[in-house]
Symmetry: C2
Subunit: 583 residues, 2 copies
């Protein structure tokens, strides 16, 4: 191999990880991957149909969204177990975004969903290429937790209409519930029976099927995996019932005719108007999807001491979404439930995902005619049971115990999501987290310190019995200095000077200062200048290496009327030579 081709191959491996794991693919990994693929396929059929329904799209789009995207992720993604496809939250966000610009079920609605997947794919790919994955970190854990819980509640509420067999709509919890109550009189009782039974069955599948299978002699792990395929039984049984008893004539809503065949070739819209109306939603949905996906991928990778590359994950998810846009899908991401099943079932490489895609393609070719008789209530039950596991109020208690600021972020995100919808919920959560962080760092902890007698340690005068000097004040600031707290520092020091008329030397102890930005640097200059006017020296102590490098670069030390001391003890020893201590 020549140097240039080796280099090329290195780059290919970097951007297309399949060239990495593909080389070492063995018969053993093939078997593992195939088993995992079969399990995941069976699990995905009802889930994909259900999430398409949640997104307000024809059910087959959920299946389509699980075929090419999985293959593209297998090529470009770095997680070995992540299963990509429609997920609950992204489906709800799709419904919210697309519902703003078209009537559910209309051709425009479908076009908008394809376009949303396209924009989301392009956005994710760009983030990945520019290595901007860190932007997703602006979603703090409390915000994500609050958002997921609130979204789970909205999704569950949105599916109640399908369980009751009535019409209802609304963009937030209150609207939804009001609408449900006002239509309660139209309840179709056969639908209700199917729905409630399915919910009960699915809850039992979650808790009771695995122990039952173990009783029948299956090993714990196999029992656990097979239990995940339980929903397919609810689908099969209710479909048979609907067909056998012609439930449609009794007013039970069925999925209806679904075209048989492989995913069609589709085109997203290239109208700038539509892009304009969707781009904001595409950004939010991409970020939420990415955060969900990457945390699943990371959890699974860590279990096998493998690693994922978040920027490459963006490219993988981007490719998957672009793929969805051109093959009749809608926005997708790495899902928690399916990935865990994939992992537990033994998937060794992303090839397991590709086999799942083949399985779904076969399903799409063969079983679609049967789906026509599937009651929507069954799908609604699948969704409700899946999303209720997302609802977790313990975050309220945990964050309350940890810090009030984080509690405020959780609560606000939750209430705004419930009250004003998913997009406002995420946005306000992000803004609030950032504001809280800036607020906290804008009023950092400071302490006047003095010498602990007989030592070279300097501690807070309020907490310790220490030696001080009325002509020297040392203030320790426990935060990096940057624009949000630069003025605070100025205020604090000017107040000190105003309060201590005998003051001759101010020492700023910088042991906790990891960075000084330009604003803070200008503040230090301003402080130095003003103290000079008052014949007070301004000194620094315990400045860290990188901070010192930057200060040196500017010649700050030269026009300072004080000194930059290596240690606080040096500072005091040197400054107090001119006078005697008070005590």
């Amino acid at each position: 191999m020549t140097t240039s081709s080796r280099k090329f191959s290195f780059q290919l491996k970097q951007y297309i990880p399949v060239f990495d794991w593909g080389r070492t693919y063995t018969k053993h990994t093939l078997t593992n991957d195939l088993v995992a693929a079969v399990i995941v396929t069976i699990m995905l059929i009802p889930q994909s149909l259900a999430y398409a329904l949640l997104a307000g799209l024809p059910p087959q789009m959920g299946i389509y969204a699980s075929i090419l995207p999985i293959i593209l992720y297998a090529i470009f993604g770095t997680s070995r177990a992540l299963a990509v496809g429609p997920v609950a939250i992204v489906s709800l966000m799709t419904a919210a975004a697309v519902g703003n610009i078209a009537e559910p079920g209309s051709p425009d609605y479908i076009l908008a969903a394809l376009t949303l997947a396209f924009l989301s794919g392009v956005f994710l790919t760009l983030l990945g290429l520019f290595r901007l994955g860190f932007l997703a970190n602006f979603l703090s854990h409390p915000v994500i937790a609050g958002f997921i819980t609130a979204t789970g509640m909205i999704i569950a509420a949105s599916q109640l209409k399908n369980i009751l067999g009535i019409d209802a709509s609304g963009h937030n919890l209150l609207e939804l519930l009001t609408s449900l109550v006002s239509h309660l009189g139209d309840t179709n009782f056969i639908t209700l029976i199917i729905g409630v039974t399915s919910v009960a069955f699915l809850f039992w599948v979650r808790k009771g099927l695995q122990p039952l299978l173990q009783k029948f002699g299956l090993k714990k792990r196999s029992a656990g995996i097979i239990a995940k395929t339980g929903p397919i039984f609810a689908v099969a049984v209710t479909t048979l019932l609907a067909w056998g008893f012609d439930l449609e004539s009794h007013g039970v809503s069925l999925v209806g005719e679904v075209p048989r065949g492989l995913p069609p070739l589709t085109m997203p819209s290239f109208s700038l108007d539509m892009w304009n109306s969707l781009i904001g939603s595409a950004v939010l949905l991409s970020v939420i999807g990415f955060v969900e996906s990457v945390s699943v991928a990371q959890t699974l990778a860590a279990k096998k001491r493998q690693r994922i590359n978040p920027d490459q994950e963006l490219i993988g998810l981007g490719a998957a979404n672009i793929g969805a846009a051109f093959t009749g899908g809608y926005p997708v991401t790495g899902g928690f439930a399916r990935s865990v099943v994939n992992f537990d079932a033994g998937a060794d490489t992303p090839a397991a995902g590709a086999y799942t895609a083949v399985g779904l393609a076969i399903a799409s070719l063969t079983i679609t005619p049967l789906i026509a008789y599937l009651p929507t209530a069954t799908l609604a039950a699948t969704i409700i049971v899946a999303v209720l596991s997302l609802v977790d109020f313990s975050i309220l208690k945990k964050s309350w115990n940890y810090s009030r600021a984080d509690f405020i972020a959780v609560t606000a995100t939750m209430l705004i999501t419930l009250g004003a919808g998913v997009e406002y919920g995420v946005l306000s959560g992000v803004v609030l987290s950032i504001l809280i962080h800036l607020y906290k760092t804008s009023k950092p902890h400071t302490a006047i310190v003095g010498q602990v007698p007989g030592t070279e340690h300097y501690r807070n005068v309020l907490r310790h019995n220490v030696i001080t000097h009325k002509e020297i004040v040392t203030i320790r600031i426990d935060e990096s200095l940057y624009f949000a707290n630069a003025r605070f520092l100025e205020d604090r020091i000017y107040d000190l000077v105003a309060d201590h008329p005998e003051l001759k030397h101010v020492v700023l102890m910088c042991s906790a200062v990891n960075e000084i930005d330009f604003s803070a640097f200008e503040s230090l200059e301003a402080i130095a200048e003003r103290l000079k006017d008052l014949d007070v020296t301004f000194n620094l102590s315990e400045v860290k290496g990188p901070v010192m490098d930057r200060l040196n670069q500017t010649g700050f030390a030269e026009h300072l009327n004080g000194t930059i001391f290596l240690s606080q003890h040096q500072a005091i020893t040197s400054l107090k030579t001119t006078f005697k201590p008070d005590a």
Copy 2:
């Protein structure tokens, strides 16, 4: 005095500082204040007229905006030397905001300006009452510097039309210059001569008048102060010329009839529609005005070891703006030039401001008929000379030398202000500063550390020759842990574990961690959980007191499979007991 009345008086002093300094007012301070007031009044007459012109308002509104607002600030503000009134940047921002919703010169335009002052006043007062002054800190120094320079350029360019005697308009520099060039053929040469001569004269007044006055025997300080009144001569001479030679008939634009009298009682609009269109601008303008004002106030207070209270300043400026709204003014703030003159002229208390107000009221009653003949070119010259002192490109070089991140913030703010206008300029500056800060802290500096032989110090393995152990890795993180870097920390530690197959113990050295928020805490829990699965212990060392308190509160230490060590040396000594060092 009873306890309750003493308490009441204490609260009054807190919210209405006049009850503080008013008690100690003497004849000496009265004299000082009166002298300062006369100087400032003479300086303010042309300035107030000019800034009203810049805001697109009738000239008398500039005078009105300097009367009641000054008195209200004197009552509620905390700075003893700050002079409140119309300033260049706020006038331009007023023009930008009000120009969006009404034709310049129309009654609606004036109403909108009054309403803007009202909204700004209410907003500032609310910020002050809720002690939210720290919000202004989000404007970093580089952003402010870039914004001021760019605004100065826009203002100067916007006044060129008055110097040339032509029509031109535009919201950004490019539009303005294009418009100017296309109307260049309409230049009125008499106007041009007046304009250029005034500009030259005013520049000379800035540089040359003070030395000249000193030659005539005045002391340096008096000469400096009197030189500030120079612009009144340009006003007087050009007014006389315009009157004497009937320049209006030669196409020279004059200020025209100005109603004589005290400020009228006016009402801002209470239409919600208008509030909606103005509130965003009011917020931006208030914050910019507050930042300008508080930094002037702080500079002057520090010179006399006095202090200002930023939250109370908000209330003072809020009252001033509300006052402006009801007395025919427009948004005001503390101006740099006038405050420095006030301070240098010896103003001892805010009463100097009140006397200035009286001076301006007298002017408004007496000299307004004369103003009719004042050429607008003279006012434009006043503005140009004033704002060119704001233009300072050295910030580009200084920030470039200090850090690229700050340089990007300056440049972007400047370009966006010039290219897209003042409001976008400020907003994008703020957003960019915050993003840069979050970016920097989201990828904090980390170091693998080892023991410096023969000491208890632990330093970066890349910079020092230190002892390490293949079964222990210590990572030091040089930043507080919060949501933006929580995932980074997880990534870093999982990568470490993936890279060191023999690893048994991870130590996180927290000497630079000032805070751990809930997101970061959950990340620590996740790290602990995953390392436990891999039989690697997770240990912390050198955790600061307040951080430790919070961790203890959650019982974190109890389900950790490692230990929280007081010092790094303890950690290594204790962990290495099980095996021998590598080298």
